[in-house]
């Protein structure tokens, strides 16, 4: 049998896994693999910073549901991926990150561009490997893709010393994996599913609380059928937005810190909370003791047993992959005619929530702030007008992110790409680029802030090099807006180092050979946005908004519904 180099085995293994795109950056310790890559049909996207590569791979993974692949060199190349790995770990994004390493003979000698990458990334990966022998490469890559994509998804890192890439071995890609310590539970316990349906049937005010797990499991169709079949309202976490169509009146939008009055009041009043692929994050629960205080039963569907009863004690846990669990639940629901009698009670409960929505809607005033400034809210609305909602939106982190989450109605899963758990500024632009590589036919919009966009602005060069058709809306208030908002509300308006001078984004776009637009008046908003969106290629749109506009309502961190701020 013909022998291949370790580097060739890496590339052949990736091809065997169906990898079509790699986001990466070459350097000394990974050059053998880059050399082998040149002869392959895999498309390589040259980024400008390795952090950008990880976020692009995240965007790619979120849109396709398949692991995103990153290839970087040792030392600084590898350490630059750490933020992206931590981000992917928090939000359960499947990645396979391959890092070059100094030759095995030099490991531990403080060699040039050496870092203990397996040690550094241990707490922010689902699993990681240091490959010490060329004969292990194929098996480890097979395992890495399996671990990244199965069970609760997450990032896996493979550290690959240079001499292992250069060594030779025969290549045979394994057809299955056998990891005795890793066997995720897929099917839910039928007895528990019966118990859950019993609890729902006995409830007066049931409420679904759905998270990112629904999207990763591809369970939106099952969820939608179940919710509509039962007529029970749904609230979503930031990662869950799009799991259930926003246009359906049963959809109450986002809950938690910046959830609406009606949605959070529903959580406060439900007697049966059905958590689906969500993890009771502190931005959702606020003060634990006051979360869903009237819930007689909390049902929790999750693939990760460690998510169950971690923050909030759960009455009926169901461990399994959301899609088959919801399908089984649908069967039980269909076979139980007595559930039909509950519809009227639940419909009254839904009407009660709709009444709260009318009493206190999100943002009453929507056209400018009355002082000739553009309202942030109107920017999101205009974005929706222009796209008719048919686009993928990638955001950064901060006020603009929450405005998108509150106001942009997501009809389909895998449409919002955002950094939820880690809250990584600089995520949006590269994630948007990754999304475009994953789904070239879809429109991709990045919504960012003047602070966030500067954290990975260099990836604009990547977008230009590959002529990515990407519209980047910068909601520019010359401030770290969310920091400013917290300082205003909780630190007596002491604005400690949150004001920021920003570059001229239009000129900057031009310097990168991209197009730039600036919008300063409400009267220009619609027309200039339209013009910018009609301009092909990467486009920056700098929208000047007032610094005083805040994301409302807001439950202070660690607070409860009774402390909700409205202005």
């Amino acid at each position: 049998m013909k022998k291949l180099t370790g580097a060739q085995i890496v590339i052949e293994s990736l091809i065997a896994e169906g990898v079509d795109t790699i986001f990466g950056y070459p350097g000394g310790a990974i050059l053998p693999t880059y050399d082998a890559l040149l002869d392959s049909k895999i498309r390589h996207v040259l980024v400008r910073h390795e952090q950008g590569a990880t976020h692009m791979a995240e965007g790619y993974a979120r849109v396709t549901g398949r692991p995103g692949v990153v290839l970087v060199t040792s030392g600084p190349g590898a350490t630059n991926t750490v933020t992206g790995l931590a981000d992917a770990y928090m939000d359960s994004v499947p990645l396979v990150v391959i890092t070059g390493q100094v030759p095995t003979t030099m490991i531990g000698n403080d060699a040039f561009q050496e870092a203990d990458v397996v040690g550094i990334t241990r707490p922010c990966t689902k699993h990681n490997y240091l490959v010490k022998d060329v004969k292990d490469i194929a098996r480890i890559i097979k395992e890495a893709f399996f671990i990244a994509a199965n069970g609760r998804p997450g990032p896996v890192l493979i550290d690959l010393p240079k001499d292992v890439q250069q060594a030779q071995h025969t290549f045979k890609y394994p057809d299955h994996v056998e990891i005795r310590g890793y066997k995720p539970t897929i099917k839910g316990n039928p007895r528990q599913i019966e118990r859950a349906v019993d609890a729902i049937e006995q409830s007066e005010k049931p409420l679904f609380y759905v998270g990112g797990g629904v999207q990763w499991s591809g369970a939106s169709p099952e969820l939608t059928q179940l919710v509509r079949g039962l007529g029970i309202p749904v609230c979503e976490t930031l990662m869950g937005l799009g799991s259930f169509p926003a246009s359906d009146p049963l959809c109450l939008g986002m809950l938690g810190m910046h959830g609406s009055y009606a949605t959070n009041t529903a959580v406060c009043n439900t007697d049966c909370l059905i958590a689906v692929g969500a993890r009771f994050d502190d931005r959702v629960t606020g003060r634990i003791a006051d979360f869903a205080p009237k819930a007689k039963s909390i049902i929790h569907l999750d693939i990760d047993p460690s998510s169950i009863s971690k923050n909030v004690p759960v009455d009926i846990p169901i461990v399994g992959d959301i899609k088959p669990v919801l399908a089984d639940m649908l069967e039980v629901v269909r076979s139980r005619e007595s559930l039909g009698k509950r519809r009227e009670t639940w419909s009254k409960w839904h009407q009660e929530i709709l009444k709260w929505q009318k009493e206190k809607p999100l943002y009453e005033r929507r056209n400018g702030d009355g002082n000739g400034h553009i309202s942030a809210v109107s920017v999101i609305e205009e974005l929706h007008n222009l796209t008719k909602g048919d686009c993928i939106v990638a955001t950064d982190v901060g006020q603009h992110q929450m405005w998108v989450a509150q106001l942009f109605p997501f009809e389909r899963p895998r449409s919002l790409l955002t950094s939820g758990g880690l809250g990584t500024m600089g995520y949006g632009l590269p994630a948007g680029i990754g999304a475009k590589f994953a789904a070239p036919e879809r429109r991709v919009v990045v919504v960012s802030g003047d602070g966030s966009i500067q954290m990975n602005i260099q990836e604009l060069a990547t977008a230009v090099q590959y002529n990515i058709d990407l519209k980047v809306v910068i909601m520019n208030n010359h401030f770290l807006g969310m920091v400013r908002q917290w300082q205003e509300k909780f630190y007596q308006e002491r604005y400690s180092y949150s004001a920021m001078s920003v570059p001229d984004f239009v000129t900057l776009a031009k310097a990168y050979n991209a197009k730039g637009f600036r919008i300063e008046k409400p009267s220009e908003l619609a027309a200039t946005m339209k013009q910018a969106f009609a301009t092909p290629g990467p486009v920056l749109i700098d929208v000047i908004i007032p610094k005083e506009e805040a994301v409302m309502p807001m439950i202070p961190p660690g607070g409860s519904m009774s402390e909700m701020l409205f202005a």
């Binding site: 397996v118 310590g181 890793y182």
Partner: protein
């Protein structure tokens, strides 16, 4: 807060102990005692016996988080299980003619074993559960302990449980 013994079977490969220890430090759990050994029957497996402390919710999370590690094959949780547990201690005690008889009577009462004798000191080894080891050390202390080394705890479920019936400890696959 209560102490709690867990036996963890892991893949016998480099870095596994760091994964387990890192999980404890990263999530703010305590390790009170730790022993690690290659399994004498299956060398592809190592056994980590550790003692941790916390309330029931913390202990449940410790188990679940350990189980999430890909390198962890099986967890044997000794919660609510009758166990035989042992530690080993070696104590070097200053002994002279005046204290020799007291030393001998303590060692024989505890069934300790003298393993080294020097001109002015004697070294004794003892195995037993934590309480026995503690009592032994307390009695030797007035004689003058020159050096002491104590192992972590190892544990096994008893084949017959006090609450009746033959039962294996609770295994989390």
């Amino acid at each position: 807060m209560r102490s709690h013994t867990i036996s963890v079977l892991v893949e016998n490969e480099f870095g596994v102990l760091a994964r387990v220890a890192g999980l404890f430090s990263g999530r703010g759990y305590n390790i009170e005692s730790l022993t690690v050994n290659e399994d004498p029957i299956d060398p592809t497996v190592s056994r980590i016996v550790l003692v941790t402390s916390g309330d029931d919710q913390v202990l449940e999370q410790v188990n679940k988080q350990l189980n999430k590690l890909v390198s962890v094959i099986k967890i044997i949780d000794f919660k609510d299980v009758d166990t035989i547990d042992r530690e080993l201690v070696m104590v070097r005690v200053a002994v002279d003619d005046r204290t020799r008889s007291e030393f001998d009577s303590i060692v024989s009462a505890f069934r300790g074993r003298v393993v080294d004798i020097g001109p002015r000191s004697i070294t004794v080894e003892l195995t037993g559960d934590s309480e026995k080891i503690k009592g032994f050390i307390n009695l030797l202390r007035p004689l003058g302990i020159k050096e002491i080394v104590r192992s972590g705890k190892i544990a096994m479920a008893r084949s017959v449980q006090l609450n009746g019936g033959v039962r294996r400890s609770k295994e989390i696959a």
